[in-house]
Amino acid sequence: MISQVFILSSQGDHLIYKDFRGEAGSDVVSVFYEKVTALTGDQPPVVMSHGDLHFVHVRQGGLYWVATTTSPGSSPFTIIEFLNRFSALVKDYCGSLSEKSVQMNFALIYELLDEVVDYGYIQTTSSDVLKNFIQTEAVSSKPFSLFDLSNVGFFGAETQQSKVAPSSAASRPIQSSREQGGRSEIFLDVIERMSVVIGSKGVVLKADVEGEVRVKCFMPSCSEMRIGLNEEFSIGKSQLRGYGAAVRVDECRFHQNVHLDEFHSNRVLRLCPSQGEQTVMQYQLSDDLPSAPPFRLFPTIERDSGGRLLMYLKLRCDLPSKSAAINVCATIPVPKGSVSLSQELSSPDQSAELKLQNRAIDWKIPRFIGGTQLSALFKLEVSGLSPSSLMEVGPVVLVFELPQLTVSGLQIRFLRLSPVQPAPSQRWIRYVTHSDSYILRL
């Protein structure tokens, strides 16, 4: 059971503090902050002890969410899971997670905490149950309106029929929909994360995709929603694949509210979404990707006569030519003793920089159109260059984002609400693939 819950900003300011059982004083907040900041590692341990008191914390939205407990029998899992759920609830109710949004909604968060935890026992974290109890209105840091898109140049025409909503559209409090009855919206995200390892000879050693379909619902009243997936969608390896481009996943899990009665015949998910954000479906696909991995690297590394290390890198993007990767960043580890870098890049919008503290070159490509190839020549000044230095040029890590694209090929055929809403409802669908861990070994 939980003894206290508190939220700290990354600077250690006390944002929320609530004591449930009176087992420890409020001074432990500063004890916690000292402990967290005293550690040098990249991540402090999830559980830390201070006498009989144990701190469990997670980091979400740049804030520390901390719970303390004195009872050793309680499962740390429960507390971690609770903190994650609680931060998700706060996000739902306040619109976004930040120091500012928490500060502006003290009363609301306090009320939430009051309903969610009673005397250290978690009562419920379901937003469906909570909406009956929560009275306080959220204060948004900036009242959001779709028409107030002054800063959106490339998002298209500013009409109601605009095809694209800004990515911040979904970060607003779920409760506000109560008042502004007309604006009911549904955001549906298909998010995939790739982790790929490509060996030095270009062999794909490992390729995994984890995906999820997420719904954020701002419907005042819950009506039934039907999500149509690709008709050729299949789960598991055993099923026969047709000649067409079947979409296959290894494993698939659904949210407990999803009715699957139409899934087997038509690949339609039925659900009554509750307000706020929820993951409708999670799936995963390993090793057998429907298309080639999006990036290949062709490196040549040698020493030149002047005692410099020459790296000639060709990076090819194997996406279809209509799509593009954005915010691509390749991190190339360099040998110890690297001093300076001179570079020749194939186009002016790219940039490269030698980060001495990381001992790596960051090669940044803001936009990489499918089917093209970029090259870079890096000349490294390395003090004490030896043959073994070549060995130290480590695996290249790529970070990128593929908008409007799913690697698995999953598409949403339709998103219908039934019965049809009286008020106009807006439905937004977004696809995006992120790199989770994309490694090209040299």
Binding site: Q43, S49, G73, S75, F82, T125, N132, T136
Partner: protein
Amino acid sequence: FLHDDLKEMLDSNKDSLKLEAMKRIVAMIARGKNASDLFPAVVKNVACKNIEVKKLVYVYLVRYAEEQQDLALLSISTFQRGLKDPNQLIRASALRVLSSIRVTIIVPIMMLAIKEAASDMSPYVRKTAAHAIPKLYSLDPEQKDQLIEVIEKLLADKTTLVAGSVVMAFEEVCPERIDLIHKNYRKLCNLLIDVEEWGQVVIINMLTRYARTQFLNPNMNESLLEEGNDKTFYGSDDDEDEEEEEEKKSEAPMPKRKPYVMDPDHRLLLRNTKPLLQSRNAAVVMAVAQLYFHLAPKVEVGVIAKALVRLLRSHSEVQYVVLQNVASMTIKRRGMFEPYLKSFYIRSTDPTQIKVLKLEVLTNLANETNISTILREFQTYIKSMDKDFVAATIQAIGRCATNIGEVRDTCLNGLVQLLSNRDELVVAESVVVIKKLLQMQPEKHSDIIKHMAKLTDNIQVPMARASILWLIGEYCEHVPKIAPDVLRKMAKSFTNEEDIVKLQIINLAAKTCVYSSIGKYLNQDYKYVLNLAKYDQNYDIRDRARFIRQLIVPTEKSGALSKYAKKLFLALKPAPVLESPFKDRDHFQLGSLSHLLNAKAGGYQELPDWPEAAPDPSVRNVEVKDSVPEWTKCSSREKRKEKKVEKPFYSDSEGESGPTESADSESDSASGSEIGSGVVGSVSGTASEESEEGSESEEEEEEEEEDEKDKKMTMKKELKKPVQENPREDDMRLTLSSLFPVEPAPSPQVTPLNSFLSNSLATDLEGLSLSDAVLSPATLSPCSALKSYELLHRIRGEGLSVEYCFSRQPFSPDANMVAVQMQFTNNATSETKNLHMEEVKLQSGMRVKEFPEIELLPAGETATAVMGIDFCDSTQAANFQLCTHTRKFFVSIQPPVGELMRPVFLTENEFKKEQGERF
């Protein structure tokens, strides 16, 4: 002065001002500032009509009541009034706040409130009462006995909402009163899946402890040598186990050689928790995983691996804790995670602590077959930029090399290559690991030792230097020329070395000296080192120097020992064993905080050891308290009793496997598995049931067509027989089931059989924990209970409440229809007339057979009726109006998945054929 301003706002008449003030005050509390001087002003508003203000006042009150007890008492009457409010939410919230006010003087009021709330008709209020129990207990522990009474009462509650909360209270107030659980054990198991997720965690943990005290170790008969050095589950002595085993064998009355039979209740727990592995709450998954790990037979534990691996895709904090637990499990049960080896490969984005844990798991999983893959993976990790991680990888390679003899040389070569790495930390770590590996077979590797001797010029890391010196000293016989040279060099730099290096220099000096006792030329270096050490600042070093001098330089006084100097210094030393830091962690309950910290945190409750002999299982048998007349009328209550059918069927648990359990979700695939009983009335037949009952029920089938008279006769006989004798359960079951053969009951309403049963017989039967399979013969559904759904709530229906359930019996007027059994209860004060259906609205293809009109339902009475619906295999709802003589109610029935079924007759051969196709 800010506060004056707030006080003014609180005193105003406008709710908006009050609200604003309260928000600011709560913000102060949230930030940890003191707002206690506002107490009088705030407490006045406790009766405020505005619910938003009211809630914030509650927040304030709970925070400061303890400090301002006298003033707080002013608010009590408001809450007492709230406790009588017709709105359940207000009652609950009043109780919650009242119980949170930590003022000793109101203990009696709280006690009274809790007792009343515990019998409130709203489950939400009862749940709040359960939550209030630990609060009162911490305020005044002397109330314990009274509170235990309330807990006992609430434990018997049948709603899922209450179950989780009352178990929380139980765990806090009286975890030692395990006897309170007996009667509720089966109910808790069956309710578990519908309980709120946080409640599930608490219940599962409690049941784990319960099961460890009440059931026998399912692994006690496993051959102890089956899985390598894997001994018994719980590390008890072999002897003990064998004894147990023998005892068990002699006791066991089984005809087949099955010395261990799992208690059906044990099986019930395992079966009912398994689906929860799919929960999206990581805490629930982990709770089930630890339950399986601690309670399940070895062969079944494997199911948790997949669920745990799935958790690895969660937040990094969750990953961290999962990996800790997986690391512990991999030591005892390696095979379980082997298929998921790849899931533990490290990603470049993992934080260091996750990487290190994954390495640990990979190392534990390494065996002869997969070691080459793992080593290749390790090789790439060494290139990582994260130095701590690289060091951990090198240690992991070392551990693989010691554990798996085949790859020792490969690993050693790889590590030696690392010695030429440009990173000093990598080299240092490799030296340390190589040192350990070399100790296993030093004679083969003198060239490696030579190579390492050269490194002393470059390596600065003290631990590595010390390791090299130790190696050279220890194996100076293999490198007789090099050792003195190294010593000479070291002697020069002695004063600048770290303490551990200095100690090793002294060691090296002593060993070379002893080894080459003939060569006097050494003496100079040796004496020089000892002299330096004599005046060292560190007293350990001075001490060591003095000690060694006495041993090696013989004087008159110490002659005796110096003879043995060679034996002392150059004795054969056992090679180190590289062990996992997780080796002994599993004596802590997995998933607990103590396990995570690897230390017994204060107040940690050890998981009890299995009992030697099983305690009496009959304590869990439940006597149904509902009066018999009630249930003969309303057979929807069958649901509850039907759970008891399970008992006899479970007894053969060994043969049970996957398909039966998965059958719960796939209604149609299960229909094949129950041929024995003739009528397929349930979703989940168990294979064991079939094997046990197969022959018996075939006979039943033959008998089936026989005249009913016979049956009634035997019934009568049975009635006359004094049942109080309590014959053995098993016999009883057998006789009864052959007495009342299965028949396709024409309607689930009061059957002729039921009418025969007098109250006394019925209660006696229940006392024996017999099923009502006897009473409603067609429903042989061993593990899923009939669930009843609410059609019309008492309040909406102005006193008339209607529940319905899918009775899973054939609907005689039309075989394609599903029988829906409705139970009407008139809670109003006046009678209801002409209950009937109207305006049925259906999707195309669906049909409905209306239930016969109920002419009169007097106040307080209950009636049942059956209607048939053909849902056309869809889950579309059937909408209709339920009419009384005064009112009409719109209602709809939607079949849950798994309830659409119809009975099918199959011969055994047909069944086998079907079964072959499906599985």
